[in-house]
Assembly symmetry: C2
Homo-oligomer: 116 residues x 2
């Protein structure tokens, strides 16, 4: 029976070599290597993080902030390299989320079966 | 190059067969099979969840609630089967957290290297 850490490293290597990760890496580096695109992307992430933090802390989000956030999203979606990066991030997130669901299945089964 | 899902299922099988998971399962079933112990454990979990939700929603937690929570923790820690279950949960959480750090390393490296 293989060691858990060996199995985890095999999976890590698989993820690192996957098309999903390699495409994300390429898209990320393209955005990061263009200062103007990078700035646009950083502004977008800052706006997102700010709103998320406010939400988590139960702070009120003003209509002005919502509108500003919408404008920033529209702006970045029109920049093709950023749109591509966001698409690749979404793709990898889906893969990681699937993997996470698979490996936590034993726990879910254990804690789930007593609830019924 | 192995498929990501195959690698994830190998890891899932490894976790399911691990001493860590099997010991947790045994400890959990022992608690669940004794109605009095189960009730004590359920009360403890409810108290914890309540406090966590209040914290996340930024609600104030009264001194009375903190004291009540402390009492519930002290009580469950004295029940040997629950103490054992909590120990096994901690052990499996550490393993899952290690695994999660390993498999998200490529992402951490990608997003980390540009920050420096
Ligand atoms: Ca372009
Ligand atoms: Ca006993």
């Amino acid at each position: 029976m293989a060691n858990i850490y060996d199995l985890a490293y095999d999976l890590e290597k698989g993820l690192r070599n996957s098309d999903e990760f390699q495409d994300l890496k390429q898209a990320y580096e393209k955005v990061m290597n263009d200062p103007q695109t990078k700035k646009m992307f950083d502004d977008f992430r800052d706006t997102q993080l700010n709103l998320q933090q406010k939400q988590m802390q139960g702070q009120e989000i003003t209509e002005e902030e919502v509108n500003k956030a919408k404008q920033v999203v529209e702006l970045v979606q029109q920049q093709e390299d950023i749109a591509k990066l966001m698409e690749e991030e979404q793709r990898l997130n889906t893969l990681i989320s699937d993997v996470s669901k698979i490996i936590t299945k034993p726990l879910e089964e254990l804690y789930g079966e007593e609830e019924q």
